[in-house]
């Protein structure tokens, strides 16, 4: 691994609950300084990369991510996004980025109308974003999901645009990489598990890479989630 010097902010909202997990996953990399940053702190803009972690920011009141999206933190995150800073939204963080208008589409309740926590497989559809650089297109990652509102939805026109521009970054797939309906755990449109903005520096996904960075935590002994963070660090 190349030597990396990076300062990464993990933004903590009241109700975030994967914040410490994201920090500890980032700290498995050498030469990374990962800080928990309270959402009101202006220092967010000083970081080389920003992670919006999972959880239930502000209790998911109104809609998942809706209140956090209107916090001052997101104004700062938007400025950093504009400057090209890699920004990753995981689960609730993805919901926040969509609510803040930094990513397209919307996230509806799962088709089963139930919370779903399980290990799934996703396929890398675009390896030129800040979070997939260094992966192979078509590469299959083992990674867990855990959410109630993660059924990605977009209009036909938006979908076409996303597809044409390669912004559907991850799709749910079976173990051999085929995006079958039964491999789609929540009924997302086109099997989409994660998307990016046009520049490719802002990515949101429902699966939790921070839960898949250590082989001891994976039922398969895998550590595929670390590839996402590694790409992020290489994009700084």
């Amino acid at each position: 691994m190349t030597e990396i010097q990076a300062k990464v902010a993990v933004v903590r909202f009241p109700g975030s609950n994967c914040d410490l997990d994201a920090v500890s996953a980032l700290r498995t990399f050498r030469n990374v300084k990962a800080d928990l940053v309270w959402h009101e702190e202006p220092s967010i803009r000083e970081y080389d990369a920003i992670v919006l972690p999972g959880g239930f920011s502000f209790g998911d009141y109104l809609r998942a991510g809706a209140i956090a999206a209107r916090s001052p933190a997101l104004t700062r995150v938007a400025e950093s996004a504009e400057r090209g800073t890699p920004i990753l939204g995981i689960c609730n963080g993805f919901q926040i980025l969509i609510e803040a208008g930094l990513l397209p589409g919307s996230l509806l309740r799962n088709a089963s109308l139930r919370f779903v926590c399980k290990w799934v497989t996703i396929r890398v559809e675009n390896n030129s974003t800040s979070f997939t650089r260094g992966m192979r297109k078509g590469q299959v990652l083992r990674i867990p999901i855990a959410h109630n509102e993660g059924r990605f939805y977009a209009s036909k026109r938006e979908l076409r645009e996303l597809s044409d521009e390669g912004r559907a970054v991850f799709r749910y797939c079976d173990e051999r990489g085929r995006p079958t309906p039964s491999a789609n755990p929540t009924g997302t449109v086109d099997g989409i598990a994660g998307v990016s903005n046009r520049k490719g520096n802002v990515v949101g996904l429902m699966p939790h890479p921070e839960r898949a960075t250590e082989s001891i935590l994976s039922p398969f002994g895998s550590d595929d989630g670390s590839l996402i963070f590694k790409s992020m660090l290489e994009s700084i």
Binding site: P14, G15, N17, C18, L20, D21, S24, A25, G54, G55, F56, F58, G59, D60, Y61, R114, F115, V116, C117, K118, P144, A146, N148, H208, E210, R211, E214, I216, L217, P219, G221
Partner: protein, 730 residues
């Protein structure tokens, strides 16, 4: 005469005792406080004397029963904290709210000793989901309640146990347990030792929800439960998450002298207990309690069980850093009074004293003893019935809701958050959590109400045995447990007999193993007033085990063909209360499996040495459904078949059904990486074992008396086992 408008749960004797104790007639507020505190739910008045039988000490025990959580040393400067609670009555009425506030309550207990909650477990009991839409409604909403609360707070729900039985149709059981972790020196006790200290009430506001909840939980459920909804608290997991984050940070300051959660009995219990434990008194101004409803009386404020509240005891001059942390997390707080030296619980309303009670006397209700009578249970089966074909029995058992896959449940729980869950629900007999000291903690909770109904003594010991086996199966050594004893109305002599039997059975098993009990709970009055039906006795044990050194992921599934399959432990003709008897034969009665702690202890040691040495490839315990189901489950996960010769199962002489379906304790199925090493280790430990078959092909083939009696494709039995719950719940 009592003042009008009071509906006290106190007995006539207790009313007299109170009058004697005070030497005067208590006022309305005082009656309400005593009523809440002396309720069975808060006071353990019917069980306290008997609970002393349980062994509570051990070299790892830092804090035993009597506090908000038990504390055990897990090495290298860390402790694990454990607690179990039930929320049966509220869940029977409002399954979503009842279950979620149950989670909230048990989390508070773990937080209030200054530890970080790292795992939740749930033990659930419902009526027959195939027949009862009501039971399916309860199950659906209880699971959703647990999921919504636990997932939001960010504590993984990692293990549990579900049973279905008609006796739970009107009275479902919702037990929730929590495990926490802390540095050894940072444990905070629920006591107020220093007069002059400040009492700070923090968290949610106090409302009329849950008023008299403890008293409500100490009665039978009456007709038209809708009227009791007011006794169910309102959950607010978001507030709990803020409270959790704030208190974990505040605990690090070392400035919190005492902490006590507000659970059953609300402020009454919390105040009298911190004073009683600390040998002090309290002087509290009730108008300083933040209320969310207008016109609340002192009595309502004192007995409200509104959620997400905690009582802190702080020094009078150095509390500022704690307050600063609470403010940052926007956790409301109010100094409601101070610690005094006179032993009195003095409550004021705008300065005027509205209640003045001796704290210690209020905190310790007089013990109640009830008469006992041994009930008639169904007579043991003497005449041999015709046994159905083995293949169809295996199929029926695998698809029984009591045995079928729990995936529909555990997939709704976030079991990953926290990055600690090494072995996850559905993949092993117990879940395994990574601790900050590098060790692993195995956790599992179990119970068997069918066994406990027929023989409460054996059944209660058996639930400890089963939880121990599950923990041992993943390579961990059992180090401590908490128990939960759930019964009907204790004034019914047959119910109280079952309670005393269960307690004695559990205590004996724990003493003989030995295994310390560091906490527990008793829940009576689990019966329906209209049908007069009590639940089957439901003792439950949550056992934690420690695993040091983790080089190989333990497996409970066959994963390689050609491995010899051993059965370790003795099988006896113990079909009483078995799933086979009840589901296949539709017979109630017979000899319930009798756990033998000393023998089990040797077997556990043998299994642990097989796992540690790497001789074992897969290990699974035998529980519900017996040996045939244990082997079938080992085949299903990775799709590897096996052969089993029933005639070679150690024990006996046994009929094929007894060999295959008896639920005798102390047994494990082991597939071995190395046959000779495995045999040598088992011989050395002096346990009974035998080679019964091998892993082979893609079918489970069972033979008895020289012929194949069942040949079941693994794919087919997987279908039978995986689908029932999901199909029922849609």
């Amino acid at each position: 005469m009592l003042a009008t408008g009071l509906r006290l749960g106190l007995s006539t004797d207790e009313v007299e005792t109170v009058r004697e104790l005070l030497g005067r007639e208590p006022n309305e507020t005082e009656w309400a406080i005593i009523d809440a505190e002396w309720a069975e739910h808060s006071s353990y008045k019917s069980s306290r004397a008997l609970l002393k039988q349980l062994p509570t000490s051990g070299e790892r025990v830092v804090l035993g029963p009597g506090f908000d959580a038990g504390v055990v040393d897990v090495g290298r400067g860390y402790v694990a904290t454990l607690h179990i609670e039930s929320h049966n009555h509220p869940s029977a009425i409002d399954p979503y709210g009842g279950a979620s506030t149950g989670i909230g309550g048990v989390l508070r207990d773990i937080i209030s000793v200054g530890s970080r909650p790292i795992a939740l477990l749930d033990v659930l009991r419902f009526g027959d989901p195939e027949k009862s839409g009501h039971s399916r409604w309860l199950l659906r909403n209880v699971v959703r309640g647990i999921a919504d609360y636990g997932n939001c707070v960010g504590v993984p729900t990692v293990a549990g146990d579900i049973e279905f039985d008609d006796s739970f149709e009107k009275n479902c059981l919702v037990d929730v347990a929590c495990v926490g972790v802390a540095k050894k020196g940072s444990i905070i006790l629920g006591e107020a030792k220093h007069p002059g200290d400040v009492l700070l009430l923090i968290g949610g506001s106090t409302g009329r929800d849950g008023v008299g909840g403890a008293a409500f939980a100490s009665k039978k459920l009456a007709k038209g439960p809708e009227t009791s909804r007011r006794s169910v608290q309102v959950p607010n997991p978001f507030m709990k998450k803020l409270l959790l984050d704030a208190l974990l940070e505040a605990s690090q300051t070392g400035l919190i002298h005492g902490m006590k959660d507000l659970g059953g009995g609300g402020l009454s219990t919390a105040l009298s207990e911190v004073a009683s434990k600390g040998g002090t008194g309290v002087d509290v101004e009730l108008t300083r309690v933040a209320v969310r409803e207008q016109g609340m009386t002192p009595a309502e404020i004192m007995t409200s069980e509104s959620q997400e509240r905690m009582l802190l005891v702080l020094g009078p001059s150095d509390a500022a850093p704690v307050l600063e942390i609470l403010d940052r997390y926007e956790v409301p707080h109010s100094a409601i009074g101070k610690v005094t030296s006179d032993g009195a619980m003095k409550l004021r309303w705008n300065g005027r004293v509205v209640a003045d009670l001796p704290a210690k006397a209020v905190a310790e209700a007089p013990v109640v003893e009830w008469p006992t009578r041994r009930p008639r249970r169904p007579r043991p089966r003497t005449r041999r019935q015709r046994e159905p074909p083995v293949a169809s029995s295996v199929a029926a058992l695998l698809s029984s809701p009591n045995i079928a896959s729990r995936r529909w449940v555990y997939e709704q729980y976030d079991h990953e958050v926290g990055l600690r869950t090494v072995l996850k629900p559905g993949s092993a007999d117990a879940s395994l959590l990574r601790l900050p000291n590098g060790s692993m903690l195995a956790v599992k909770a179990d119970g068997n109400s069918k066994h406990s109904f027929l023989d409460p003594r054996r059944g209660a010991a058996g639930c400890v045995a089963e939880a121990c086996r599950n923990v041992v199966s993943v390579g961990a050594e059992p180090i401590a447990m908490v128990d939960h004893l759930q019964f009907g109305d204790p004034s019914d002599p047959e119910v109280y007999w079952a309670f005393t039997e269960a307690l004695e059975g559990m205590a004996q098993y724990c003493r003989d193993l030995p295994l310390p009990v560091v906490g527990g709970k008793v829940s009576f009055y689990n019966e329906d007033a209209s049908t007069k039906r009590a639940i089957k006795p439901s003792p439950i044990a949550m056992v934690v085990g420690l695993l040091r050194g983790f080089d190989r992921r333990p497996s409970s599934a066959f994963h390689r063909v050609g491995e010899p399959v051993f059965v370790v432990g003795t099988t006896k003709a113990e079909l009483g209360g078995s799933e086979y008897c009840e589901t296949v034969l539709k017979v109630r009665g017979g000899a319930v499996p009798a756990p033998e702690a000393r023998e089990d202890s040797r077997t556990y040691r043998a299994i642990l040495s097989l796992i540690r040495s790497g001789a074992a490839s897969a290990v699974h315990d035998c529980s519900k459904g017996g040996l045939a189901i244990a082997v079938a489950e080992m085949c299903i996960q990775d799709g590897v078949g096996a052969t089993v010769n029933a005639g070679r199962i150690p024990g006996g002489p046994l009929s094929p059904a007894e060999a295959l379906f008896s639920e005798s304790h102390g047994r494990f199925v082991v597939s071995a990486r190395e046959e000779s090493k495995t045999e040598a280790l088992l011989r050395k430990e002096g346990v009974s074992y035998s080679l019964v078959g091998e892993t082979r092909g893609d079918a489970l083939r069972i033979s008895a008396g020289g012929k194949v009696v069942a040949s079941l494709e693994v794919d087919a039995i997987r279908d039978l086992w995986e689908k029932p719950l999901a199909r029922l719940m849609g």
